[in-house]
């Protein structure tokens, strides 16, 4: 059976330091899978390994059954494996529409054309307009990123990933930097994402995790501590220990 994303025995070492220890994950279509753990547990490293920014020392990464362990980051994107960043990684001096047009044009294979206008391409325009509507950013289409508020930039961050029509979406702390009370607009967007899209997200905001996730994997010091449904994890004493420390009665 082919999973949307599967890792087997993923290991990564930096010199003598093991940052990822034998991590195996099976993410099916339509998954809403949270990856949680204390700081330094290796969550972002895991995403970097999946996207090809880092090369694993051992293990395999499969997307839709295809082995992409040695593939370039570009090839993985072409297979539908897309990520967002914890710190906004946007095209700052370009407009919101341009930020979305770039991945759309790339996906449609129009981004090598050295003539014509991006705006003149109906297919690109249509998709960008649709994305803007989905993100609720229609009014800001012509504004440069540097003119946007932080939360709006976060939406563009996710928007760029959506523009690539991924099969697997890796979200690195989508609500990062947004005060707990205001993570609503991110949550709204996440809830409206296509149901067949497999989503793995790292988060510290537990409200988001418990509302949105269906399964949770807990990563501690580079290794999987446990995995299970939201209720199982919520009630697991080991997870409480890891986050809150042990009680000394």
């Amino acid at each position: 059976m082919n999973y949307a994303l599967e890792t087997r025995g993923l290991c990564k070492r930096f010199g003598a330091i093991e940052v990822t220890k034998n991590v195996g994950l099976k993410i099916g279509q339509g998954a809403r899978h949270a990856l949680i753990g204390p700081n330094g547990a290796g969550k972002t490293t895991f995403i970097n390994l999946c996207t090809g920014v880092l090369a694993p020392n051992e293990g395999a990464i499969l997307v839709g059954g295809t082995d992409l362990t040695r593939a370039t980051p570009q090839r993985r994107v072409n297979h539908g494996l897309v990520r967002t960043f914890q710190l906004n990684t946007l095209f700052n001096q370009l407009t919101v529409a341009e930020n979305l047009a770039i991945p759309v044009a790339q996906r449609l294979g129009r981004s090598w054309k050295p003539w014509g206008r991006t705006g003149g391409d109906d297919a690109v325009r249509a998709e960008v307009a649709l994305l803007l509507e989905q993100l609720g950013l229609g009014a800001l289409a012509a504004k440069k990123i540097v003119e946007l508020a932080y939360g709006q930039r976060r939406l563009v961050e996710i928007g760029i990933a959506l523009a690539l029509q991924p099969r697997v979406l890796l979200l690195d702390e989508p609500a990062a930097g947004i005060p707990n009370g205001e993570s609503g607009m991110i949550l709204d967007l996440l809830e409206r994402l296509p149901p067949e899209l497999a989503i793995v997200f790292i988060e510290h905001d537990m409200n988001l995790v418990f509302r949105f996730a269906k399964r949770i994997t807990v990563l501690v010091e580079g290794a999987v501590l446990t995995e299970g449904s939201v209720d199982e994890i919520r009630n697991d004493p080991r997870v409480r220990d890891v986050y809150l420390g042990r009680r000394h009665d």
């Binding site: 996207t51 980051p73 570009q74 994107v77 072409n78 897309v82 990520r83 960043f85 990684t89 946007l90 095209f91 700052n92 001096q93 370009l94 407009t95 919101v96 529409a97 341009e98 047009a101 770039i102 991945p103 044009a105 790339q106 996906r107 129009r110 981004s111 090598w112 054309k113 050295p114 003539w115 014509g116 206008r117 991006t118 705006g119 391409d121 109906d122 690109v124 325009r125 249509a126 960008v128 307009a129 803007l132 509507e133 229609g138 289409a141 012509a142 440069k144 540097v146 760029i160 523009a163 690539l164």
Partner: protein
């Protein structure tokens, strides 16, 4: 349906250079100069050559964000190629330009494939070293380049078979203007295109560009090669107009000079080269007669002041009120980020 998209996507959401009244201005000025300053046409033609050179640099620097001190390599290679072709193969000018562009393009694609994997200081160094290396080769390869003496006696056939190149530079000026116009069309088309948008994406955030599935390196090599071809054409044009080629077309000082000239006008703004380069060269022409070192001092001081107060060059000043009517479209390069942020 399309009407709805137009509502959600106003035209300035995906900005591009549209034809406006300001676009006609440079050409009007150039033609006016032709009729009024008929004794200065040879200087004028050389200015036009440098504007083409500056445009080619703006393509990689302003739009793709490649900081290079090695563009003189392409200019020089083009000049020598056109000179050699003229002296040994044929004196026809237009094919000479093609040869110049082709030779520079080959150097461009080879060096681009090698050096564009690096960035920052390493890239700057590599571009500088390639330029001085080619300079040494040109110095040593006397049989082809004339060594330290360079090439001279380049006599160009009449353009299209009928327009002779006279001593006053009439044909030369219009020839250069025509080539400039074509080069400008090419640059403007590329900048407005989806490819141009992807280049600006690389300039803004190469990491993200890579992770939307684009091959950053290949795109950079492509635009670098195109820019090399255009710079080579400028060099070849210069060789044909001045009828000589010398080693000073292949120095990193020339790379620095064209960079300075472009910066004065403004990088990444399409018309920066049209403003900065003629201004600089005209003032240089005046100042060289008096004292070149005073000019050098003034330029140095101006650069320092410019970097502090107007990193976007004269054209960025033009974009602030009350000059907004001069603005033509997508501007703002990464180096302006400090201003806007």
């Amino acid at each position: 349906m399309k009407h709805e998209f137009n509502k959600l996507l106003p035209t300035n959401a995906l900005p591009h250079y549209r034809l406006g009244p300001m676009d006609v201005l440079p050409w009007i000025v150039a033609l006016a100069a032709f009729f009024t300053f008929d004794t200065y046409l040879s200087l004028g033609a050389q200015i036009l050559v440098m504007v083409i050179f500056g445009l080619s640099l703006d393509l990689v620097l302003g739009f793709a964000g490649i900081t290079t001190l090695g563009h003189a390599a392409f200019f020089g290679v083009g000049a020598y190629a056109a000179g050699y072709y003229n002296l040994h193969v044929s004196q026809e000018p237009l094919t000479g330009l093609l040869v110049a562009g082709g030779a520079a393009g080959i150097i461009g694609v080879l060096s681009g494939l090698l050096v564009l994997r690096t960035h920052g200081l390493a890239l700057l160094m590599l571009t500088m070293v390639i330029t001085v290396l080619l300079h040494e080769v040109a110095n040593a390869w006397g049989s082809v380049t004339g060594g330290a003496d360079g090439l001279s006696g380049i006599g160009v056939d009449p353009l299209f078979g009928s327009f002779e190149f006279d001593l006053y530079g009439t044909t030369a000026y219009l020839y250069a203007l025509g080539v400039l116009f074509l080069v400008f069309l090419v640059v403007r088309t590329v900048v407005n295109s989806p490819f141009g948008l992807s280049l600006r994406g690389i300039r803004e955030n190469a990491k993200r560009m890579g992770l939307v599935g684009a091959s950053v390196h290949l795109r950079l090599v492509a635009v670098y090669t195109l820019s090399a071809v255009l710079a080579g054409i400028a060099g070849g044009l210069g060789a044909q107009i001045t009828r000589t080629v010398s080693l000073d077309r292949l120095t990193f000082q020339l790379s620095g000079d064209i960079l300075i000239m472009l910066i004065i006008g403004g990088v990444g703004r399409m018309y920066g080269a049209f403003i900065g380069i003629p201004l600089y060269m005209l003032m240089l022409d005046r100042a060289a007669a008096i004292n070149p070192f005073h000019w050098m001092f003034a330029v140095g001081l101006m650069l320092i002041v410019l970097v502090r107060f107007a990193p976007g060059g004269l054209m960025s000043l033009a974009e602030r009120a009350p000059f907004n009517f001069l603005r033509s479209a997508p501007g703002a390069t990464a180096s302006d980020a400090k201003e806007g942020a």
